[in-house]
């Protein structure tokens, strides 16, 4: 694998985006690999976390953003807790996902973003999670309509663990405030990620 070092990728662009949005000093990483050693999902990642940090240092956004690494991060914070250089690696992984989902870089996963969209829509509209609607919608959109229906889903319903009626915020005024809040957040997020008016 050959990579042509480009100063603009190292000094600005991708690496700078990551450092700005995650507020972490990526150059601190000295590649000890403790994050990769403890990561419970590193076995499934194309590049383990320590290698991802190196790729950010060198500005290799094409390669890193088309890999599954950040999407397989389960946010267990093991890496952050044990990092000897005090880098919040989990937050860096979050940042990669935030940037991708905001459309600034490539999205290389087709499960998590769909789930995230449905999940947040559910909160936006009802204030809480509406499981069955959410699971249903997720299964439909991810083209796997019968995932987890048998036997787990059915058993869940039989045990009364999943309700068919959404739990709503009872106060309609609060609901409208909630929807307005999400609108404001989206605007601010765009400004922040694309550095408009910042």
């Amino acid at each position: 694998m050959k990579y042509e070092l480009q100063l603009k990728n190292i000094k600005e662009g991708f690496r700078k985006d990551v450092e700005r949005l995650s507020k972490q000093k990526i150059s601190n990483c000295y590649q000890c690999g403790k994050c990769s050693a403890g990561c419970p999902v590193a076995y499934a990642m194309e590049y383990p976390p320590s290698m991802a940090m190196r790729m950010i240092q060198l500005g290799m956004h094409d390669r890193l953003m088309s890999a599954n690494t950040s999407w397989f991060c389960v946010s267990c914070e093991t890496c952050t807790t044990r990092c000897p250089r005090e880098i919040d690696i989990a937050k860096v992984m979050d940042t990669l996902k935030i940037m991708a989902q905001a459309g600034k870089y490539k999205v290389s996963d087709n499960e998590v973003p769909i789930f995230d969209w449905i999940f947040l829509k559910s909160i936006e509209l009802t204030g809480k999670i509406y499981e069955i609607g959410m699971i249903g919608a997720y299964n439909m959109l991810s083209l796997n309509p019968f995932k987890d229906v048998f036997p787990m889903g059915v058993k869940m319903i039989l045990k009364g663990k999943i309700s068919f009626i959404p739990h709503l915020i009872y106060n309609p005024l609060e609901m409208i405030k909630n929807i307005m809040m999400f609108r404001k957040i989206r605007k601010k997020d765009r400004e922040r990620i694309y550095e408009k008016n910042v």
Partner: protein, 290 residues
Amino acid sequence: MFKVAYFPGCSLSSTAKEYDVATRLVCEDLEIDLVEIPEWICCGATTAHITSELTASALPAKSLIWAEKHNMTITSPCSACFSRLKMAHINMEKDAELKKEVEEVTGEKYNGKAEVLHLTRVMLEKYGIEKIKEKLKKQLKGLKIASYYGCLMTRPPEVSENDRVENPMIMDNLARALGAEPVKWAYKTECCGAAFSLTKTEIVRKLTGEILKDAKACGADLVMVACPLCHSNLDARQPEISKLLKTNFNLPVLYFTQVMGLAMGYDYMDLMLNKHFIDPKPLLKAKGII
């Protein structure tokens, strides 16, 4: 009687109803007044912080602001909700700009005064383990309990503020206080794959499988948890994991308030133990607890 702002979280009103019920029962006995935050909204869970930093802070902020206004410690029995509440509090403390933005979108002011504690700490530290012992009706003799803490209740340390990060003992101490035998095992803080339950189920099966394997190998009769997400992975997914690993774990997974409830004399149906996929009845009968 002391008042605590209660943030049950979405799971406790659906998939983990039994956790909510058991928690309320136990707290009533302990004379802890759980004041449910009116009109609380979802904490955003993992989804929020991997989608937008602002959302991840704004959603919990509403509850934090309510607790601050009413001068109450805010608690959640769900590790994920607790972690998000505390994380939002810490992030706003560290990042003045973020705090300003949160105040703008929520339209309310936050002074950074809310105290966020996980339910285990409210009960075992604020209330006190000795006082709990006084309320017990029976001892859970002979029950080997593996306490599973998972990620969000323990990490990162500035959020959890637990006794220690790598080998927390707070729930083990509770198990001992209840008369049970805490199991020494290695996977008590390993990740179960939580957020991937729906999206990347294979990962959950593998990680949870390893946790169950270690608990079983270390001789646990049951696993005690304090998080509905861990519970659904360890319990609801247990049959399929057993099948996958060609074994039968048959390891009941109980919420810690349910285990406390048992020692306080509540019975099987009071604590809604029937809701679990792995029925703890045979085990509890064998040990003479019910």
